[in-house]
Structures are given as structure tokens and as C-alpha cells.
């Protein structure tokens, strides 16, 4: 029995985000709230965004899920802050490509998020990683709407 290949998935930076999630909570002055779940496994995310002049001013999340889904949500809220909604939407596509194992454009700096690249090798876990990003995409694409 071995754990070597597990390290491709559970990088220390992922575990750090899981144990110490950034932007955990609910934004009181949010302009967008999104609830999403992964019906196959029961993971849930409650994402609140404050979007003004097409800029994501702030983002917070709450949820229940595995280390991958919660770490991904933490990283997503981190990178999306201060971004124009179009840019945020583009990042969701970049992330989706990352999960498909595609080569990324060097000009894009994903920071901590690159640690999630290993998820692409674990097809059963890709849905865990993309949940928060789908919620964000829905939020910025539809920013005057409150959905649940």
C-alpha cells in the first residue's frame, strides 16, 4: 500500500486552505448570493459576492464538502476579489481547462490554484474542485439575480 501518488492530489497548499479557509462566511452587504450543490455527493456551497461597477469587490463562502471542494472555494474567493466580472468569468474557464489537464497559457498566474492541477488525474474528484467555480461563474454572469 502506498500514499506516493496521493501527494499529487493533496498538496500541502490545498490542505492549508482546507484547514484555514480564506474568506469563510457570509457577506452582509452582498449583491449576489448563489447556492449550489453537487447532487451526487452532497457537497454544498453558499457563495456571496459584492459586485459594484462590474468589479467583484468582495467574496465569501460557506459550505460543506471534502478537502478539495472547500480548498478550491477558498482559493477561488481569493483570486476573484478585485477582478472585473468578465475576467472572473474567464478565470472559471481557465480553471475548467486546468481540470481537463490542458496546458495553461504562461501569462496567467493562478497562484495557489495551480496546486489543484493534480485533481485532473483523479477524474472522480473533478466535480469537487469545480463546484465553487461554477457558483462564481453563475454569480458574475447573472449579477443582479439572487438564485438558489
Amino acid at each position: 500500500m502506498s500514499t506516493n501518488n496521493l501527494d499529487q492530489l493533496y498538496r500541502s497548499v490545498i490542505m492549508d486552505h482546507y484547514k484555514n479557509p480564506r474568506n469563510k462566511g457570509v457577506l452582509a452587504d452582498n449583491t449576489v448570493t448563489i447556492d449550489m450543490n453537487n447532487p451526487t455527493c452532497g457537497d454544498v456551497i453558499h457563495l456571496t459576492l459584492q459586485v459594484e461597477n462590474d468589479i467583484v469587490q468582495d467574496a465569501k463562502f460557506e459550505g460543506e464538502g471534502c478537502s478539495i471542494s472547500m480548498a478550491s472555494a477558498s482559493m477561488m474567493t481569493q483570486i476573484v476579489k478585485g477582478k472585473h466580472v468578465d475576467e472572473a468569468g474567464k478565470l472559471a474557464h481557465v480553471f475548467s481547462d486546468l481540470m481537463l489537464g490542458k496546458e495553461l497559457d504562461d501569462s496567467i498566474d493562478l497562484g495557489d490554484i495551480e496546486a489543484l492541477a493534480g485533481v485532473a488525474k483523479f477524474p472522480a474528484r473533478i466535480k469537487c474542485a469545480t463546484l465553487a467555480w461554477k457558483a462564481m461563474e453563475k454569480g458574475v454572469g447573472n449579477d443582479s439575480d439572487t438564485t438558489d
Partner: protein, 409 residues
């Protein structure tokens, strides 16, 4: 304990997953298929494939004989009085939906009650939810005991003279609980209600006798009992089925078609619209032969023993929580658990990297997850081909998971 040779009947088990010999512990989701079943399917398609009840040619006769022969095997398997009471449908879900849409629609009125429990699978919740909404009926839940069992006292409190349908699972796919169906049926009947049994997790593991249970309907799937996917059974008492309207119209269920009025075939074909699931039924028949050769009593005992052994070994692991009754005699062959604060998906991934397949998630029982106050659990479910060595591998895998996450945290 069953002989390890039984494993050799299952070609799929003889492979490595992520560099380790496969240990398959997800049989409650779907069981693996023995060579006998795979061969029955391939023989059927290679030699006998034809539509049933139509052709006057030889293949048509062979296919009809095989299909109806499988029905007789099912009749015996559940001890139904007649093959008219055995309807082939896609699976447990379709069978329960058929009861809700046919019997339910005709017999449930505004203010009537439908009784289920907190441990039900989604397939035995939502058809009744929908029926209750449509009819303005009341859906009532029987609460569970602390250990995840049902008490007849609480069942008696919930069922009233307004109750028209009681629908309860025989064996829980999460807690492993075996429910006192015979006694609950008596209570339902005393109030004039019909008793529906979701036997998806029972049919593969224990001897079902519908006459002894005296239930009115019973549903199960082929794929959880060594058969193929896409075939299942609805058992119903003849007197009830005779008075019910089909829910699917066309194909095999037709008797005579006029321009504005048509008539249906007699039982059981009345409920089998379209071209039936012929190969599926043949495969299910072969699965029943296989299980009966081993003996359902042997299978049940084997699983009690494995569950008992698994619970004993797993309780050696600090921080591991087991859900459901802790008495192995009160549960079927599955153990649902959580390991410390490691999320079950993460546990399942570590196990998978070590060749061990378990389920992680809500197991299509979200109300039960809420009752247990967890968002998800992991589940190891056993079948005829599992051995104590599989349990040992699971326990080793769980120790690895625990250590791994202790380290990375």
C-alpha cells in the same frame, strides 16, 4: 464463511486497481456479475434473440420461453402465488413509481395519509411526495430510534385510519437495519392501508417470502443481486393488480386497439409496455439460479459474519464512527462510517488509490443524512464474493487514510 472459490465466478474481481488487487466493497450500489450471468446474456444474444409473444417462428418461441421462464424463477424466488403477480420493470425505482402512479392515484384522496420513514432511499420518498402533492394528501415519516432501528410502537403511532399507503424499506442501504416488515404489514392492514416494500437491499441478501410477509407490493432490482442493470421486479397481489390501470401504454401491454378505445392484456403483461427487457430478465433468471445454488441462508449468514468482523476490526481504529445498530445480528452486510474529521470523499480517494472501492456521499438518503446530522458518510458494503481478507485490506486502508491526513494537516 463462504468458500473463497466463489470469487472465481466473478471475472471482474481478478484485476488490479491503481497497482493493488481490487477489493470491491460497493455492492449495495451495484453488485458484480458472475460468469454464469454474463454467459446467459451472451448466449441469449448469440442464439435466441427475438421479440417475445409475437413471432410464430422458432427464435420467437425460444425468447418467449426464456423470458417467461425467468418470470417463473422470480415467482419461486419470492414465493409469489402466481407468475401473474410478477411484473418485469426497469428496477426498484420504476416499480415504486408504478405503484404510486397507478394504485396511488386511484386510491389516495385529499387528506389521506402516506407513511414512510426517515431512513428511506430517495426512490421511496419522492414518488410519494409527488403523489401527496398531486392529491393533497399528507406524507408522514416514522422517526427512528437512537440506534437507527424502527420501533413498532412509533409505527403504530404514525399509522391511522386515514393512512392509505405504508411504504418502507426492508433493509437500509445506509444503516444496514433490517426492518420488521411482517409486523408493520399487520399494523398497516389493521388500518386498511396497503403495504409497499422497497426490497432493493433485501432481495440480494436474504430469503424473501411475499406470502409470509403478506405485503401488498414489493419492489427490487436485478443489478444489486448479480443480475444485469435495467431489470427489476414489481410484485403485487393479484386482486390489487387486476384493479389497477397501467402507467405505460403501447407495445406488449396491448390487447385490442380501436380508434378511440383500447383494451389491455391480462396480468402481468398489462404493466409491461413496449418491448420488454428480455435479455435483462434472462440475466436475472441466471442470477437467481446462481444465488440459489449458494443458498440465500448461506449468503445472509456470510454477510452477518462479515459485517460483524468488519465492525469489530473497524472499532480498533480511534476516531472511527459507525452508524446504525451495533449488533451485527440486527443489520445486513454493510458498514457506514466516518473517520475523524476526514471527509468521506477524501477517505474514499485514499482507499481507491489502494485498490479498495467504497461509496462516499449521501447514498441517495438525504433526509437520513440530516437525521444523522452529517453531510456525507463512507460505506463499505459486502456480498457473496467478499472475504475477511477484504475487510483486513479495508482496515489497513483506513489506517493509511488516517495517518496520511494526520500528516498533511
Amino acid at each position: 464463511m463462504l468458500s473463497k472459490e466463489i470469487r472465481n465466478h466473478f471475472p471482474i474481481l481478478n484485476q488490479e486497481i491503481n497497482g493493488h488487487p481490487l477489493v470491491y466493497l460497493d455492492s449495495a450500489a451495484t453488485s458484480q456479475k458472475p460468469r454464469q450471468v454474463i454467459e446467459a446474456l451472451s448466449n441469449y444474444y448469440n442464439l435466441n434473440n427475438s421479440n417475445v409473444h409475437r413471432g410464430v417462428h422458432t427464435l420467437g418461441n425460444r425468447a418467449t420461453d426464456e423470458y417467461e421462464g425467468a418470470r417463473e424463477k422470480v415467482r419461486k424466488f419470492i414465493n409469489a402465488k402466481s407468475t401473474e403477480e410478477v411484473i418485469f420493470l426497469r428496477g426498484t425505482t420504476t416499480a415504486l413509481n408504478t405503484v404510486a402512479q397507478s394504485y396511488g392515484r386511484a386510491n389516495v384522496e385529499e387528506g389521506d395519509e402516506i407513511v414512510i420513514t426517515y431512513m428511506e432511499h430517495h426512490s421511496n420518498i419522492i414518488p410519494w411526495q409527488q403523489l401527496a402533492k398531486e392529491k393533497g394528501a399528507v406524507l408522514k415519516y416514522v422517526d427512528l430510534e437512537e440506534d437507527g432501528t424502527l420501533s413498532l410502537e412509533k409505527v403504530r403511532e404514525v399509522i391511522t385510519d386515514r393512512t392509505k399507503i405504508v411504504s418502507i424499506m426492508y433493509v437500509s442501504n445506509v444503516l444496514g437495519t433490517m426492518n420488521p416488515i411482517k409486523e408493520i404489514t399487520e399494523i398497516a392492514h389493521a388500518h386498511g392501508a396497503v403495504m409497499v416494500v422497497d426490497a432493493a437491499q433485501a432481495a440480494p441478501h436474504l430469503k424473501i417470502d411475499v406470502q409470509l410477509l403478506n405485503c401488498d407490493f414489493l419492489a427490487f432490482s436485478g443489478h444489486k443481486m448479480c443480475g444485469p442493470t435495467g431489470i427489476g421486479v414489481l410484485y403485487g397481489k393479484k386482486a390489487l393488480l387486476n384493479n389497477m390501470e397501467p402507467v405505460e401504454f403501447g407495445g406488449e401491454m396491448i390487447d385490442f386497439v380501436g380508434l378511440y378505445e383500447s383494451t389491455w392484456k391480462e396480468l402481468p403483461w398489462k404493466f409491461e409496455g413496449g418491448t420488454p427487457i428480455i435479455a435483462g430478465a434472462v440475466g436475472l433468471g441466471a442470477a437467481i439460479d446462481f444465488l440459489e445454488e449458494i443458498g440465500l441462508d448461506h449468503i445472509e449468514r456470510h454477510e452477518h459474519e462479515l459485517a460483524g468482523y468488519a465492525m469489530e476490526r473497524m472499532s480498533e481504529i480511534d476516531g472511527l464512527t459507525i452508524y446504525g445498530p451495533l449488533d451485527p445480528e440486527k443489520r445486513a452486510g454493510l458498514v457506514t462510517f466516518n473517520l475523524n474529521d476526514v471527509h468521506p470523499h477524501d477517505v474514499a480517494t485514499v482507499l481507491d488509490m489502494n485498490g479498495i472501492a467504497v461509496r462516499a456521499g449521501h447514498h441517495c438518503a438525504q433526509p437520513l443524512m440530516k437525521w444523522l446530522d452529517v453531510s456525507a458518510t463512507a460505506r463499505a458494503s459486502f456480498y457473496v464474493y467478499n472475504t475477511e481478507a477484504d475487510v483486513d485490506r479495508l482496515v489497513d486502508g483506513l489506517r493509511i487514510a488516517k495517518e496520511y491526513f494526520n500528516d498533511v494537516y
